[in-house]
Every structure is written in C-alpha cells, then in structure tokens.
C-alpha cells in the first residue's frame, strides 16, 4: 500500500541478515560489519522489513519491535465478511472456509452479489420469485448461466442443486445411492469392476439419465471419496476414525490419510503387512479418463466464439472447479471467511495483541503497540509557508512529487516521544542515499533530547521554565541546534540535495552506475534511511522486569537503549 509523501517506515530487524543478498553487498565493502552497514531501502529484502508504525507491535519482555513476520498468529474465530456471521470452527472444518449462507461474489469482477427478484408485476408469484444472483457492479447474473432460484434464502443449498443451464444436480445422498445402484447393476451384468479402463464408453447402465455428458467435477470427487472411504474401511476394520468424522473435503482428514499411508508403509507395526491399497480403477470409483474429444470440442468452441468466451487466469483461479475454461461454466463463488486473530511474540510467546472475540466488537483485550514505545518520526518540507506564523493561501502547498535535483531542500524531522521518561536521541544517516540517484543528506542536529510524555498540563508549566526555541520567521538552520521543541517532541532540520535523475546531468559515476540507473523502478524515489538510537532511564518496576529482577529494586532507575532503522519517504525527484 503506497502511502502519500512524506511517510516513515520502520524497519524490524528480525530478518536473517546472513543472506546472499546482504553477503554480496558486504563483499563489495569488506570493511562493513553488520553494525556499520547502512540499511538500504532499495534492497528487495527491505520490502519485508519496513512497516508503518501502526502495524508494529512491541514485546515488553524482549524489549523489541515485533512486525507481522516475528509474531505468531492464533485464530480466535472465523466470520463471513459479508453477512458478518461467526462460523464455528467445527463448521469450518466440515464445510470449508466459505460462507454457507447467501453470500456470493461475482465470478467476473469479484463484487459481492445480491439476490434480486425476476418477478413480473403482471404475473406475481407466491414466493415473489424467481430469484437470481446479480452483480451490482458489472451486471453479470446467474441468468447468463441459466440459473434461477425459487426462494431468496438458502442460496447455497439451492445453488448446490442446480447445474449451469438449470438442470437439477443430485445431492450427496442421491449420488451415493445412484453409485450403489450402478455398482450392483454392473456386478449383475457381469462387467468386472476393474476393466472399465476401455475408454469412457457410456455403459448401458446409465439408464434413465441418458445424458452422454462426462461426470462432473463433483461426481468424480464424490466417487473418489467414497472409493477411498471404502478402501480404508476394508483396510482397517478397527477404524481409528469414527465414520462420521471422515470428511473428505477437509485437508486435515487428507493429512490423516497420508499419515495412515506412511504408518502402514513404515515397518514399525510388526503385524501382518496389510495389502496395498489399490487406486481407483473405474469411473464409479472416481477414475476420470481424459477424453480427447473434449479438447476438440473446446477448440471448436474457441474457433466459433473466440477468446472472449474463455476465462482469464484470475477468473479461472477464483473458481472452485479449477478445470473450467469457458464463461458459460462460471459459478458464483461463495465468500471466503475472514478471521479474528491474536498475536504472540515469536521468541518469548507472550501475547502482544488479543482482540475481543465477539465479531461486532472492535476492542482489544491486549494490545501492545510499538507506537507507545518507540518515538514517532515524521517529516515535512520546511517551505516558506510553514516558517511564517501566518500560513496564507499565497503559498502553494509543497509538491513532494516534484523535488528538483541539485537544489537544497530543508525538511523538518519531527520526533515525538511516547514514553514517560525523557529520551536522548541520536540520529544517523548515510551522507548520500543508496541507489542510482545519490542525494546528499545532512541532519543539522543529529543528537538532541526529547521531553517526556507527561501530562498535557505539565506542558504549560514547564514551558515557562525551559525557553522554547523562538519561532520567528528567520530560518534557524544552524548546525548543532534543534529547530523547535515542545512538551514531548523535538524538531530538527534535515537538508537534502536531491541527485540528478539522468546520469548525463554532470553525475560522474563509475561504470556500474549506468547499469544501476536508467531502467530501475522507482529510481526517482527519494527515500532516506535514518538510524535512530534512543537512550533513557526508566523506572525498574515490578511489572516490567518480572519477578526475577524485581527484588529490592523499587524506585531504581535503569538505563535503557533502543535502536532501529527507519526510512523516510521524502518524495520523488523530477528529471530536468
């Protein structure tokens, strides 16, 4: 998510620095050891380390920032983002991670669909129907795949019974019954259950149905799952799984089946070796043979209707059946469920955040935010409009998207302290930004103090004591002096001379400079890595230090230190 300029990202140093990428960089400058290395916001790895402050948590035990990569998530509950109903975990296990109410997304544009009535005012029906699922965004509807519903509720149930075109689909029970019936018929007819490999010939047992269509995705799946079920029952008469627990649509069951396979394969059990499970060998057992005729039919159809009738990869992947090819095969997709999650520190397992489990609640039981523990840095341009006390409309707002190369720009770096103790801050930045366009960076006052985050009213009292830097119109760009300060914040000036975008513009670079410049994405982005180190004396309190350290240390102060990299997004450099 791109943020508007200026922004600040904070780096979590949880990533393993001993990687190929950083090693190669270290090889270029062998003197660099890990502490001395400059954080490079342009490194691909940095994508995974930089976060806005509000996304970071803080572990008070480890005294460290915790980013989404160094926390462990625990799912508290599942809910549908559309109808906001909570789905019990047992239902998630049995029915999968989609809403089973009336929530569907458009298979064409992903917009949530609505149930609309097709009732004609001239001939009103008792139920107000027929109903369809319609997309309010792209106006695709189930009419295009020939599906209408009788009722406006229980769409999932109704949809599972209707095939595209309006034909009724059998239920699971009917499928099972039909399979049994046909198996019996096969056995009676003397056709060996295993030699149907002779092609996809429609056996004469397909009476009644009379359709030559190959079995659908669901048919194959239910046949296959019934076959595996039967195999396993035959294999292990004392079935460790109770039959009702065997649901083949859940991945956990599959993993248990896999375990079963591996445990029978391993020779730990010294009982008589069970016979090998065979694979499905007939259509009734879920064997699907590829029929070249279907390919020819597909090619013919593309010839006739063109590419427009085929599905884009995104639409195809969004479908439950990944083998669909044409837009006439689309089905509305049930909404994916969302989760509410708690987070723990990956190294010490302490809870860092825990929302209230109620779906409607937005409150947290526990929430340890980084922004309550580390200072917030913010940048803004020190344009004439902001130095004068009367901001007038005469000054146009500073355009962060058009920084002019070669001309020094003064930014104000503002640091506010959330801690209840005053902090001493040391900032460090490379003299030029990494990357193809080297911009010169100078922090005029890299070391300064920031007041404690005391009560707001203390501000009024303390302001009379410590003379706050004058805020006159004169720019105070004196090196070593802060620009301004308040109760719990201090502002310093950052001077930036943006580099030239085009290497021709007097930039005498080494040979590799040409390779690096030019085509690089976001080469014009001015991102300034700033290393922040804070020192402060904190009360050693019982809660903070834990029982082990708490003995007799009440009222004592301890020196603490915190250090992290940040990246300030200052804007984009224009090409002149």
């Amino acid at each position: 998510m791109a943020q508007p300029f200026p922004y600040t990202y904070y780096a979590c140093d949880c990533f393993d620095s001993n990687t190929a990428a950083s090693a190669s960089r270290a090889a270029q400058t062998p003197a660099d050891d890990e502490d001395a290395r400059t954080f490079d916001p342009r490194s691909p790895r940095s994508n995974y380390a930089l976060y806005p402050l509000e996304h970071l948590l803080y572990c008070e035990d480890c005294q460290q920032i915790r980013c989404p990569r160094c926390v462990i998530e625990e799912t508290l509950n599942w809910y549908c983002p559309s109808c906001l109903f909570e789905v019990p975990s047992s239902v998630v296990k049995s029915d999968g991670n989609r809403c089973t109410r009336n929530c569907y997304n458009c298979p064409v544009c992903t917009s949530p669909m609505t149930v609309s009535s097709l009732e004609k005012p001239t001939e009103p029906s008792a139920t107000g129907g027929p109903y369809i699922l319609a997309c309010p965004y792209c106006h695709w509807s189930t009419v295009e795949i020939g599906i209408e519903f009788e009722k406006h509720t229980g769409i999932t149930n109704q949809l599972s019974r209707i095939a595209n075109g309006g034909k009724t689909l059998p239920t699971q029970k009917e499928r099972d019954k039909e399979r049994e019936r046909r198996k019996e018929a096969e056995a009676r007819g003397g056709i060996g259950g295993r030699d149907i490999l002779s092609g996809s010939e429609d056996s004469p047992t397909r009476d009644g149905e009379g359709n030559a269509a190959p079995p659908g995705h669901d048919d194959i799946f239910s046949n296959l799952s019934a076959f595996y079920k039967a195999q396993m029952q035959a294999q292990t008469p004392s079935n460790p799984f109770s039959p009702h627990d065997l649901n083949f649509s859940s991945p956990s069951t599959y993993s248990r089946i896999m375990n079963l396979y591996s445990s029978t394969a391993s020779k730990k059990q010294k009982r008589e070796k069970p016979a090998l499970m065979r694979e499905a060998a007939s259509a009734l057992e879920g064997l699907a043979l590829h029929d070249p005729a279907s390919d020819i039919a597909a090619i013919e159809r593309i010839k006739k209707e063109g590419w427009a009738s085929t599905l884009s990869p995104a639409r195809k992947l969004a479908q439950l059946n990944p083998h669909v090819r044409f837009d006439s095969e689309l089905r509305p997709t049930a909404s994916l469920l969302c989760t509410k999650r708690g987070k723990r520190c990956r190294s010490c397992r302490h809870i860092l955040s825990k929302p209230e489990s109620k779906i409607t609640s937005t409150r947290y039981k526990i929430k340890l935010l980084a922004l309550n523990h580390i200072p917030r840095l913010s940048l803004r341009a020190l344009s004439p409009a902001t130095t004068t006390t009367t901001p007038g409309p005469s000054h146009p707002p500073f355009n962060y998207n058009a920084l002019r190369p070669g001309i020094p720009i003064h930014f104000l770096l503002h640091l506010s302290n959330p801690l209840f103790d005053p902090i001493r801050v040391t900032l460090a930045t490379p003299s030029t930004t990494p990357g193809a366009i080297a911009s010169r960076i100078t922090i005029l006052c890299p070391q300064f103090d920031v007041g404690a985050n005391t009560d707001v009213w203390d501000d009024a009292l303390s302001s009379s004591l410590s003379p706050i830097a004058k805020r006159s119109g004169d720019a105070q760009f004196e090196a070593g002096k802060i620009y301004d300060r308040g109760r719990n914040w201090t502002a310093v000036v950052l001077e930036v001379v943006p580099g030239f975008v085009t290497p021709l513009g007097g930039k005498r670079d080494e040979a590799d400079g040409d390779v690096k410049g030019g085509g690089e994405v976001d080469a014009d982005l001015l991102e300034i890595p700033v290393f922040v180190r804070i020192e402060f004396e904190a009360d050693v309190s019982v809660e903070e230090r834990g029982l082990g350290d708490s003995r007799g240390s009440k009222g004592e102060k301890e020196r603490r230190e915190e250090a992290f990299w940040t990246v300030l997004g200052a804007g984009r450099i224009v090409d002149v």
């Binding site: 509000e54 809910y79 992903t110 965004y137 719990n488 914040w489």
Partner: protein, 214 residues
Amino acid sequence: MSRPSARKPATKGEYIETDSGNKVSRRSAITGTANITLGGRTVIMADVHLRGDLHPTRPVPSSSGKEVTPTSISIGRCTVISTGSVIKPPSRISRGQVHYYPMKIGDNVFVGPHCAVSAISISSHVHIASHVTIHAFAIVKENVKILPHTVVPANMVIPSGSVVGGRPARVVGEVGEGWGVSGGGAGGGLGVGGGGEEKWVEGGDLRELVRSIK
C-alpha cells in the same frame, strides 16, 4: 509548527460555525437542511453537496401522532466532508416509485475530496481517501480505510478493520493494531497521519483536524 493558537475572532471567513461547533462552508450546497443532522464539530467543506432533500417519503409513524420531519442524512461528531464530495442518500425503485433511505455517518469519519457517497451507513473512525465512489446501500463498518479511487459496489459490506481498494472494491489488507491511535506522542506536535504533516491520524480522533480548519 502551527500549534493551536488562540482562536481568532470570527471574521466573515470561509466557514459558518454553529452553536455545536459544526463548521459549514459558505460555498457548500446543502439542500433539505431540515432533514440533515450534524453531530457537532463536524466540517462541511466547500463544494460539498448534501442531498437532504432526498428523504424517505413513507409516513413515519410517531408515538405522538404528530408529523415528524424525516431524517435523510445524519452525520456524527468530528466528521470531515472534504471539498467537492457529494453525499446522497441511497434509493431503491419499488413498484415504479423511487424511495430514499436515511443515511448515517458516524463520528470521526474523514471523507476525502471529490467522493460520491451513497452508503446506507458508515461507522465511526473510517477514513475515505479522495475520489472514492460508494454506491447505494453499502455498509462500511468501524475502522476501515478506503484507498483513493476505489469504487465500492452497491450493497457491499466492508467488515471492520479492513483496507479496501480497487474497482470494484475488495479487501486488500487490514489496518494495523495501531489504527487510529495517536500514541500519546502526538500532542503538541505535528507528525502523524498518512501525510505526516497533520496533527491527526487516519481513523483517529479528528478533533485537531477540525480545529485547524478555518
């Protein structure tokens, strides 16, 4: 560096300030004023169009039997509707007639410039970026961020804590745990929010922002 200085005497400026602290631009277009409620300290900027005239026409049953003015738009406290946005209550055609439904916008909601909003409800602490279209009957829950140029389709429900973007809108992420928390460190300084210039955070308390609008 403009700390909240003493409020200037009310000269004839851009905004008309009501008793409850609402600031309504003289250049805004508000129709059907009687059907609009503003919670206080709410800002309506220039060229904003509030369509209060599009109110429910069905008779509202009241206990006293008296005729009550129907509400078409109710906006909470410390909410900011930025320049050029149009707030239009959602409507539905039923038996050949257009029916309007009352729209509710919560507290501390930021609606960016040039948006078109027809949601049925927007909960509190929602940040809507610029050029966003929200179609009729959409429901936006608490603590939601809508990215610029998003089109929220009709009837969509946006669950709380999500970041949505795209056309049509889909949930592209979650706001962090620190969404709307100014961190105690914001007082007296600048420095928070998406832009880094403002004294407020997206999804947070917009009082400072409201105060700074003059």
